[in-house]
Symmetry: C2
Subunit: 413 residues, 2 copies
Amino acid sequence: MSLIVQKFGGTSVGSIEKIEAVADKVERFRKDGHQLVIVVSAMSGETNRLIGLAQEISASPTLREMDVLVSTGEQVTTALLSMALNKRGIPAKSYNGSQVRILTDDAHTKARIREIDDQRLRGDLDAGYVLVVAGFQGVDENGNITTLGRGGSDTTAVALAAALTADECQIYTDVDGVYTTDPRMVDGARRLDSVTFEEMLEMASMGSKVLQIRAVEFAGKYKVPLRVLHSFQDGPGTLIRVEDETDMETPTIAGIAFTRDEAKLTVLGVPDTPGVAHKILGPIGAANIEVDVIVQNVSIDGSTDFTFTVHRDEMERAKGILDRIAAELNAREVIADDKIAKVSLVGVGMRSHAGVASQMFEALADVAINIQMITTSEIKISVVIDEKFLELAVRSLHSVFELEVEPTGVVVD
Amino acid sequence: MSLIVQKFGGTSVGSIEKIEAVADKVERFRKDGHQLVIVVSAMSGETNRLIGLAQEISASPTLREMDVLVSTGEQVTTALLSMALNKRGIPAKSYNGSQVRILTDDAHTKARIREIDDQRLRGDLDAGYVLVVAGFQGVDENGNITTLGRGGSDTTAVALAAALTADECQIYTDVDGVYTTDPRMVDGARRLDSVTFEEMLEMASMGSKVLQIRAVEFAGKYKVPLRVLHSFQDGPGTLIRVEDETDMETPTIAGIAFTRDEAKLTVLGVPDTPGVAHKILGPIGAANIEVDVIVQNVSIDGSTDFTFTVHRDEMERAKGILDRIAAELNAREVIADDKIAKVSLVGVGMRSHAGVASQMFEALADVAINIQMITTSEIKISVVIDEKFLELAVRSLHSVFELEVEPTGVVVD
């Protein structure tokens, strides 16, 4: 008998029919003898409906009351799923964030979990109940309702799994696992049986939006085995595992992530004096614009070019700020370009394998793709290229690194 | 500065526009310097929507989960009204039943309030907040969400007023007060400035459905001054008062209540033996059919006629049961009649005024109305008549007892 935490998102519980289907699935696990904690989101559309009501009242409604309002969405789902389980003869009980006592800080609409009281839950688990817990919500130490922000239900599931030392935390989604790259772009894209937490973090932040980053971080920190599966198709999904357990079998590259969401800004001819990077990026940060890739070329004749990327939606605003700064710094020109894409190779295996970067650059050169920017981390190499070459780049790299082939055992370099 | 508890029902908060209108009203009271606790129901339609979802899953969903489900309705309203007040610069805070701690028993969907913790509320009142409390809901001693049953928001308001020893509990509705009788039937029907709790109970149970009976009982028990007012029209409403405070001015008759909801059942020719009333009414009660007026005529030749009224919807079912009993008792016949109406004079003043009953019967005889059944209590005289004479009876009585005339002082008989 295992203790399993399962999380079903808004789409998976988006109608009574789907809630019944989830109840069927839970019933099968129950018959296999597992103890189960089910974390649910609001029915799809419900959170937006509630936010819509608030916005009819005010463009900036009180955050405390926003949490009171939207937290009702998950509570409704917990009641309905519990009823569906009860109908099947399965003892089940709903819990909201306050009833579990998922203690958070008081940062309304983006609270962080501090502590989970597992006492009541354990009592009901031991008494044979399936527990249906409202995701995404908690309560601060003064009893105020808080929410963890959108997608926080994944975090709730992982945190409950950690608190209960569950055998596995299963996140049910609309995909059947994590892929080597987007299957819509590369025919040979392959579902991974497992990835490491670090790889998953890099994949998630690069737009493979299967899991919330916070949930993955949390799972990694508390070593909760996490599995991504399809809500309504059977299959093993992808296990996100603690790295060193199966280190020997780790392939060099786990997958290829990419994004079209960024834009590139270049300040040309900046006098290369100490503190110039801060003078450029300080005001950008102050304007709450997130910066991703940053590259500064070596100085030629005492002036340099400074380039960075931001989210495409922020390009115009960033350009406005840079134009002002450029004038102050006597820089030559500011160029903005939103026709770019970022492609990343991700894999903890590349740590111990030299030559991955040059192999990547060679593969891109072979298909005549010019690299505009490069950044690297321990387990990721990213390049910025012209957007129109994105598909060509991803397909070439997927093929060169043989990602369509199932790894069969120890990888020898 | 007074402490006022105000309750707004589902229709009064049925849309964002109406919630804004309630906020405007609260703002005016606030400017007058009052401390305010606002009790709200779910937006009209919302409770039915939620019940509909549950019934898609099961015809008899788990009661514990029904409470979890429907209690979200009021929580949504508390958040929205708090936002609307905050927008007006008024510090306001929502509370659900668990947050106040409205402790109830564990009878899900029809729980009774045991205790209210007024500590947090008082703290926030003293800190200058308007408190917006979810009506209709509480929490049992194990932290399970409970609800008080439909209309329980009135009870919440009265219970909060009692716990906080509020100066007044104001129930906002879609009528501007309690009338001597239904204004749609009698042009001269007059809004009463005040009625006693006992009168209000008799009026409420007779179909003047302005307030929940439980709320009135509660208010009477804890001597909470209760006022019925119109949500969106200004006016003094009707005060429901503790009797002895203004006893001298109490008029003989407060008003005339009536109902068309009942049906009459008569068992003719029942052998008049001990226990016969129980033999007839026992099975009716066992079938959960509520009985209202009961009359048994004196025995003639060792047999009697036994008559009672039930809700019209239950007539057929009651008839079926009586046919079986009549056979067992060797009674002659069972007659069912749903073409009846009940008319009641209500007034604590009639206690000390002899002759009200005969005056009533004389008034009905003057317009040739035959009385089929009579029952009396200390403060009420009810007659059952043919339904087609209902309007004539009510108008005649309203005129004979001069209810269209505002009482001016001490009534001398």
